[in-house]
């Protein structure tokens, strides 16, 4: 129990922060918002998965990926392929030349379901694919980059290039992927209509619980020795290497974990929004994810969720009134955060929070690292006493 408390929640301050977030997304927002707005929040929370993945990869690991959209997209497309096949049963597609295949395939003169679509008729396979396809893809990219010690800006550029390649591929292969429109008209999940109001509520809560679960697993990773090694590598990679660690393995692993997290977000996006398209795969969404993480605070698993919600709420509000100004505003926001608040919202909270009286109890010392060093000090004192 104590282990769960320290490692998955991150001690007292971590548990309080997760508790407040859970209260907000599980109770306050569902009560305060109508279904349309709540569904929007649900969509934003799927982006928060990508932001959380960047805390591990970029905040702690120091590896900037400008291609998290790749994995968000892979997860989203895997889910969309399953839903699309279910929506394309022979009866509802009977007016097509080839009934029983997705409509866009029929429009592109395909007469047979492509081989790689076939396994997506199974829900179990789809769930496995959402987790495994992104991690295998990330492993291949990570292995070929990190074993060759490609890092920093070169890694960022390569991930960006891969995001572009994937978008071009999806758009170009219309018959297989639905092209620029993506995969649309998704209806049911194993017979359960995902477009109904009650389903939207259920999906929102599944998504919220998954997000909290992912945050706790990430917390577990970051409070382990692995987390400390990530920080150590970010600072002095050579020192870690010459302390007997195979640095590339650690980078590959954190890259794969971040890919899976982003992919879960993508799959939940498809379920809640009802379609998937290449506009959530390419450069722009990938960079937006980095901005969410930067605004929220790239060292804070909880902060980035607020960052994602705020930036997206701003995006929705502004693009309703000044659609053409939004991109400039977002760019400006990113520059401002990087220049003045490098630790984002979480940084501001940690700096000014203790000065606000009613917030002070939240800042009591309870971090794991502190308690261990505390006990170490006591022991050290005891040994010096013994020596005397």
């Amino acid at each position: 129990m104590n282990f769960v408390y320290e490692r998955f929640l991150g001690g007292k301050s971590g548990a309080i922060a997760i508790g407040i977030l859970a209260l907000l997304i599980l109770v306050v927002l569902p009560l305060a918002l109508d279904l349309f707005r709540l569904n929007l929040v649900g969509k934003y929370l799927t982006y928060a998965f990508a932001a959380v993945s960047l805390v591990l990869l970029w905040g702690y690991g120091g590896i900037l990926s400008l291609g998290q959209g790749i994995f968000f997209g892979l997860g989203g497309y895997a889910m969309a392929m399953f839903l699309k096949l279910e929506a394309s049963d022979p009866e509802s597609t009977s007016i097509q030349t080839t009934p029983g295949i997705p409509d866009f395939m029929d429009w592109n003169q395909l007469t047979e379901l492509p081989w790689f679509w076939v396994p997506f008729e199974s829900f179990t396979f789809t769930l496995l694919a959402i987790l495994l396809v992104p991690s295998i893809f990330a492993f291949i990219i990570g292995y070929s980059m990190f074993k060759r010690r490609v890092g920093g800006v070169y890694f960022a550029i390569i991930t960006q290039v891969i995001a572009v390649i994937l978008t071009v591929l999806i758009v170009g292969q219309q018959g297989f992927t639905g092209g620029i429109n993506g995969i649309t008209d998704l209806k049911t999940l194993n017979g359960w209509d995902i477009r109904e109001d009650s389903s939207k509520y259920i999906l929102y809560f599944i998504n919220a619980f998954l997000l909290l679960g992912v945050i706790m697993v990430s917390k577990f990773i970051l409070t382990s020795k692995f987390g400390q090694l990530l920080l150590a590598m970010k600072d002095k990679e050579d020192r870690v290497r010459f302390s007997g660690y195979d640095v590339s393995n650690f980078k590959i692993f954190v890259f794969c974990v971040s890919a899976v997290i982003a992919a879960i977000g993508g799959a939940m996006f498809t379920l809640q929004v009802g379609f998937m398209s290449p506009s959530f795969v390419g450069i722009v969404p990938s960079i937006e994810m980095v901005i969410f993480a930067a605004v929220g605070g790239r060292m804070s698993l909880i902060g980035v969720v607020y960052g994602t919600l705020l930036v997206n709420a701003g995006k929705t509000a502004f693009s309703e009134t000044f659609p053409e100004l939004w991109l400039f505003l977002m760019g400006g926001l990113f520059i401002a955060v990087v220049m003045f608040f490098p630790n984002g919202l979480a940084g501001i909270y940690n700096k000014y929070g203790p000065k606000v009286k009613f917030l002070r109890p939240l800042f009591s010392k309870s971090e794991k690292a502190e308690t261990t060093t505390e006990s170490a000090k006591i022991e050290a004192d005891a040994t010096t006493e013994g020596a005397k």
């Binding site: 577990f220 990773i221 382990s224 020795k225 692995f226 400390q228 090694l229 920080l231 150590a232 600072d235 002095k236 050579d238 020192r239 870690v240 290497r241 010459f242 302390s243 007997g244 660690y245 195979d246 640095v247 393995n249 650690f250 692993f253 690292a369 502190e370 261990t372 060093t373 505390e374 006990s375 170490a376 000090k377 022991e379 050290a380 040994t383 010096t384």
Partner: protein, 248 residues
């Protein structure tokens, strides 16, 4: 091609060439068990390159490095470390944003794999070891201090401590007293004399006063080759050494 020897480290005919420039040129050198060896030489003599070659940071062009009769030249850096060779860099290379305690704990030689590190537990044994080492490097009062705010000398000691955590059989130190105050130099000399009791140590150093304090056997490098080797006073009296190095 490696011959079996009683030496801890046997470097034979080692050469590395960077675009034709031979930074280390057919060098042969042996280090005994529990030996403290000081390597001196003018700038560009190949001292740091020699350490880079031993720890695998630079790959040799030819020749062999055998540690406990095991060939090291083809091994990856982390495997060389795990075989028992620790190396301290010239500028203090510590994790600035971690505390002294965390710096030492992270260097503990367990949980070195991805999954090992995820499930690594701070046992009493780890805490005990951290405290022992912290005391050895005189940082036991600074366990909770963020490493970034330590003095330059303390950072150097911390890095030595991080290596001691791994209890290497061969410890290589690149200019450990550079930038230290006179008092810190003396303390470092004492520290080195203590830690070389049950391991071999190679020290690269420029400061002759410091070398005299610790040296038993000295190797003088010049242009990638060994110019002289032997006890300190004998080397100091060597004509060639005076000419290229000490005389200036």
């Amino acid at each position: 091609m490696t011959t079996t020897t009683d030496f801890l480290l046997a470097i034979e005919d080692l050469t590395v060439s960077f675009d034709g420039f031979k930074a280390v040129d057919s060098l042969t050198m042996y280090i005994d068990k529990n030996e403290l060896r000081v390597v001196i030489g003018p700038n560009g003599a190949g001292k740091t390159t020699l350490l880079d070659l031993i720890c695998g940071k630079t790959k040799s062009s030819s020749g062999s490095i055998s540690f406990k009769n095991k060939e090291m030249t083809k091994m990856a850096e982390h495997e060389i470390v795990r075989a028992g060779i620790g190396r301290k860099f010239q500028t203090p290379s510590i994790y600035e944003n971690l505390t002294v305690y965390q710096n030492l704990e992270v260097s503990y030689p367990e949980g070195r794999g991805v999954f090992g590190s995820l499930f690594f537990k701070t046992t009493d044994e780890v805490i005990k070891r951290v405290n022992e080492v912290a005391k050895e490097i005189q940082l036991d009062k600074f366990l909770d201090t963020e490493a970034a705010i330590l003095s330059h000398g303390q950072k150097q000691w911390l890095e030595i401590g991080m290596l001691l955590m791994q209890d290497p059989e061969l410890l290589m130190l690149d200019e450990p007293v550079a930038g230290m105050s006179a008092k810190e130099r003396d303390e470092t000399a004492e520290l080195l004399n203590r830690i070389c009791e049950n391991r071999s140590v190679i020290v690269i150093e420029h400061d002759m006063e410091f070398v005299k304090k610790i040296a038993r056997k000295v190797t003088v490098l010049h242009q990638g080759k060994i110019l002289a080797e032997g006890p300190m006073d004998k080397v100091q009296a060597d004509e060639k050494v005076i000419e290229v190095y000490l005389g200036h």
